[in-house]
């Protein structure tokens, strides 16, 4: 079966809140998922990502907008007729059925012949590495095994799309990394269109073809992990994807190709961003911690900053550097070769202007 894409067109969902009255959980969200792609909805809790996913699945009905899977408008189609595979945060295994019967459930609903059920369940359990566990009850399995059963149960019916609602949040850190690799491999091998919800930016970056960052019920930016990291559209996205410094600055001069900015008590020449900038405008500079180089000041030069604290993490050292009024996070890699700076040490710093992103100052 060739995978179909998902087109979400301007869906909204309101809930009545006890105190606030009617509130938007999801507001005018549009999203395109190409066939075979995995798109992640990423955002803090309460941003509407799960509600969006549940509307794609059909558990919730949007108040406005349409949802298209493949070339079928499914907005008014029941969950049971949408052909989706859903993996729940708590796995939602049927507690009264064995592993085999859990996985076989969807096939039995389809009234598949007994021999086909046995064959397909066996294949899928082997695929997720649970061959031999058929007769166990869900409560006899570890968290990781339950997760695999949930996955097997979702893919055995060969769904048109796979939907994941924070499937790894109940697992420990090591297992989480392992399982996300397995989920990605499986999704690529079966080439099923998938939507994945998480609040963990690292998980999102590891697993996704594209990421849609959500805030307050809207998608605020969508793109590949590299695009979001290199060119965040807002302070929210800059903070949410990776660690960052947001430095206050002022535009001195702007041309078609470059912008002169005053920040951290110096002039910086940066590549021009998308926004039209006029001289005098207040801006924010998105400076990633690893794009700042630290060095002891040249003899005779005044120091530009001082080391406040450092955290040694093995492959890198994280510093806090005081520069004038600002405190910067700076990451130094390979400390064994390059050495470690001590707290209190005066330093000179060099910012790689080409990787700095400019954002207009917003009232916060």
């Amino acid at each position: 079966m060739s995978p179909g894409g998902i087109r979400v067109q301007g869906i909204s969902k309101q809930f009545s809140h006890r105190v606030k009255g009617l509130v938007y959980a999801v507001r005018d969200v549009s999203l395109d998922v190409a066939p075979g792609q995995l798109v992640t909805l990423l955002g803090p809790s309460g941003c509407g990502k799960t509600t969006t996913l549940r509307m794609i699945a059909g558990f919730e009905r949007p108040d406005a907008g349409r949802i298209v899977i493949g070339d079928q408008d499914v907005t008014d189609v029941r969950v049971s007729a949408r052909g989706i595979g859903f993996v729940f945060q708590n796995y939602a295994l049927f507690p009264h059925l064995s592993v085999f019967e859990n996985v076989a459930y969807g096939l039995r609903v389809q009234k598949a012949p007994e021999r086909e059920i046995a064959r397909r369940v066996g294949e899928v359990l082997a695929l997720v590495g649970l061959a031999g566990h058929e007769r166990q009850q869900p409560n006899q399995l570890s968290g990781g095994e339950q997760q695999r059963v949930a996955l097997a149960r979702a893919i055995v019916i060969r769904p048109r799309v796979l939907l994941f609602d924070e499937p790894l949040s109940n697992l420990d850190a090591t297992l989480r990394v392992q399982m996300r690799g397995e989920i990605q491999a499986l999704q690529k091998a079966l080439s099923i269109t998938a939507v994945y919800v998480t609040h963990d930016q690292e998980e999102a970056m590891a697993i996704s073809d594209r990421i849609a960052v959500m805030e307050g019920g809207r998608i605020v930016q969508e793109g590949t992990a590299e695009e979001l990291y290199a060119r965040p559209a807002s302070e929210f996205v800059a903070r949410f994807i990776g660690r960052t410094n947001l430095v206050a600055g002022r535009v001195l001069a702007a041309s078609a190709s470059a912008v002169e900015v005053e920040a951290l008590g110096r002039r910086l020449t940066l590549p021009a961003g998308g926004a039209a900038l006029v001289p005098g405008a207040a801006v924010r500079l998105v400076v990633r911690p690893e794009t700042i180089d630290l060095a002891p000041p040249e003899p005779g030069d005044a120091p530009q900053g001082v080391v406040v604290s450092r955290t040694f993490l093995g492959e890198k050292v994280e510093y806090e550097i005081r520069v004038g009024e600002e405190t910067l996070q700076v990451t130094g890699y390979s400390p064994l070769q390059r050495g470690v700076l001590a707290p209190g040490q005066p330093i000179a710093l060099r910012i790689h202007g080409e990787s700095v992103r400019l954002l207009p100052e917003t009232a916060e």
Binding site: F59, S80, A92, P95, Y105, G106
Partner: protein
């Protein structure tokens, strides 16, 4: 808006909602409505004359105040006794064996016919009672009145307080008490400032439950209260069966409705919102409970055992009375009473078993259907449906019985005299326990399990059949059990509904009591206790066999 659309898209849901509402309207709303109409009309005119006529009789006014007084006293004494048992069972670090014994002793009054203690009281303290006459040699003692009614009802109903308070006391995180002790508080201070305040909502709840139970109790006052202490349920009964005044009985039962409804609403909208236990969440490290000083354990246990022994004594006495010729006069051994109940009384036994047997599956299906709709489905009037379904259960049986009599005595719905009306009365009066069990179970089962089924292509009817039903089997068994047990033991509502054609064991016991045929009454009571315990054992077996791994334990459901 959203709910309506969903119901419209799911024809099975729509049909289920319509059917349940039709049943509720016919068997709960309609009879109560007719009762109110009957109370406030006379020959088609709206009038207060009926009420004023009844209130004009000082005997009836006395009955109203007596009912409230008795309810309050039973509430206080029963809550105190229930707290003693709950504290001992939950906070005194007793071994499992002792706790099981306390549970067993409190189960006995819960599942017996309501007047078994009353009968045993007569045997012990009556004019020829084993204790008053036989042991102490007192003559001319009168057992009838407030004191003995209070004693009997307290002993019968305190297990409700025990079942209410025990989970609350057991749910208090021992770490909270440890914390208070580590701050320098003494045991008594911890108990006073931490344990007791946390249990306050439980006290209020237990008091109200006992108040309602006593207000509704019909059999105990009929046997023990006597003429000097009239209460509303017995007055209503005598008004109808003695004076053939259905209208007067309706007014009296309406007077009973006022405090009962007030307590029901108070409990539902005030007390039930004030539980602290659910808020505490995750229990920290394991620690033993230290509220109760070690030396205090034994006096507490001693108090409980004394009560347990009293209960066991009453039941042993009942059994003894059923196998001697005449208790207090001739203690020769005989099977005669059992011969009587299995010949003369055979029809009552057969009728009761048929009615219980028919009502049981109907009540079970009704309970899980309604519980499922209320807990899981979105449709307009969901909360109203739940509230209406609880009404017949919350109101005293006397009201329900008289309302059925008023509503179903005439065409087009002339059901009185048949078995159907008795079955309907039991189903709609005693299924709410099963409904609550279903709702409670479903609240523990994450909705995502049912969504997972829908996601795999199952329609709502398929999901209900293959996923929901197997998961709520324990609630189904609980519903079966409660409907059966109450069908065997209840009397307050159905005494108005029995006829020449269909009678009940409990009604025969009452007739025997009034005819002073105490032997057959005792034999009937023993039979009911034995049958009920056999059914409970069977259902517990079923529960154990069907229990889903990891699901909740429902063995204590019979108390509600």
């Amino acid at each position: 808006m959203r709910g309506r659309r969903r119901a419209a898209r799911d024809p099975a849901l729509l049909a289920a909602v319509v059917v349940v509402w039709a049943l509720l309207a016919l068997f709960i709303v309609y009879p109560l409505g007719r009762l109110v109409v009957r109370t406030f009309t006379d020959g088609g005119h709206l009038t207060l004359g009926n009420v004023l006529a009844i209130l004009g009789d000082p005997h009836h006014r006395q009955a109203f105040w007596n009912s409230l007084l008795l309810g309050a006293l039973v509430g206080i004494c029963g809550t105190a006794l229930g707290f003693l048992f709950a504290l001992t069972a939950a906070r005194a670090n007793l071994s499992r064996g002792w706790v099981t014994l306390l549970d067993a002793a409190t189960l006995l009054p819960l599942v017996s016919p309501p007047f078994t203690t009353a009968i045993a009281m007569i045997f012990s303290f009556g004019p020829r009672g084993l204790i008053t006459y036989g042991l102490l040699g007192l003559k001319g003692v009168t057992v009838y009145g407030l004191a003995s009614t209070l004693f009997s009802e307290t002993l019968t109903y305190f297990p409700i307080a025990y079942l209410t308070l025990k989970p609350i006391l057991a749910g208090i995180d021992p770490n909270v008490e440890d914390m208070a002790q580590s701050l320098g508080a003494s045991r008594w201070r911890v108990f006073r400032t931490v344990t007791l305040p946390l249990a306050v909502p439980g006290f209020a709840n237990a008091f109200l439950l006992l108040f309602t139970a006593s207000l509704a109790d019909f059999a105990t006052p009929l046997i023990l209260a006597g003429n000097s202490f009239p209460v509303l349920p017995t007055q209503a009964y005598l008004q109808i069966t003695g004076l053939f005044d259905l209208g007067g009985g309706a007014v009296l039962s309406f007077l009973l409705l006022v405090p009962a409804l007030a307590v029901y609403l108070l409990q539902r909208y005030w007390v039930s919102r004030r539980s602290y236990v659910t808020v505490t969440g995750k229990v920290g490290a394991q620690t033993t409970v230290k509220t109760v000083a070690p030396w205090l354990r034994w006096p507490l246990l001693g108090g409980c055992l004394a009560v347990a022994v009293a209960i066991l004594y009453f039941y042993a006495l009942l059994f003894y009375a059923s196998i001697v010729v005449a208790l207090g006069a001739n203690h020769a051994w005989t099977w005669r009473h059992y011969q009587v109940i299995f010949t003369d009384g055979l029809k009552a036994i057969g009728d009761t078993l048929i009615i219980a047997g028919v009502g049981m599956p109907l009540g079970g299906c009704y309970a899980i259907l309604l519980g499922y709709l209320v807990a899981r489905k979105a449709f307009p009037g969901r909360h109203l449906m739940e509230m209406v379904s609880m009404l017949n259960y919350a109101l005293p049986g006397t009201i329900v019985g008289i309302a059925y009599l008023v509503a179903f005595n005439d065409p087009p719905l002339a059901l009185t005299g048949g078995a159907l009306i008795i079955v309907a009365c039991y189903v709609f009066r005693y299924s709410p326990t099963g409904i609550r069990a279903t709702v409670a179970l479903l609240q523990q089962i994450d909705p995502s399990i049912e969504e997972a089924s829908a996601g795999l292509g199952a329609r709502s009817a398929t999901t209900f059949r293959r996923i929901t039903v197997p998961l709520i089997v324990p609630a189904f068994f609980a519903a079966l059990g409660v409907v059966f047990i109450r069908s065997m033991t209840a009397i307050s509502a159905t005494i108005f509904l029995v006829s020449i054609g269909w009678t009940l064991i409990t009604v025969r016991i009452l007739e025997n009591m009034t005819e002073l045929a105490l032997g057959p009454a005792a034999a009937f009571s023993v039979l009911v206790v034995v049958v009920v315990f056999a059914v409970i054992a069977l259902i517990s077996l079923g529960l154990r066999r069907w229990r889903v791994p990891g699901a909740a334990d429902f063995s204590s459901i019979f108390g509600g």
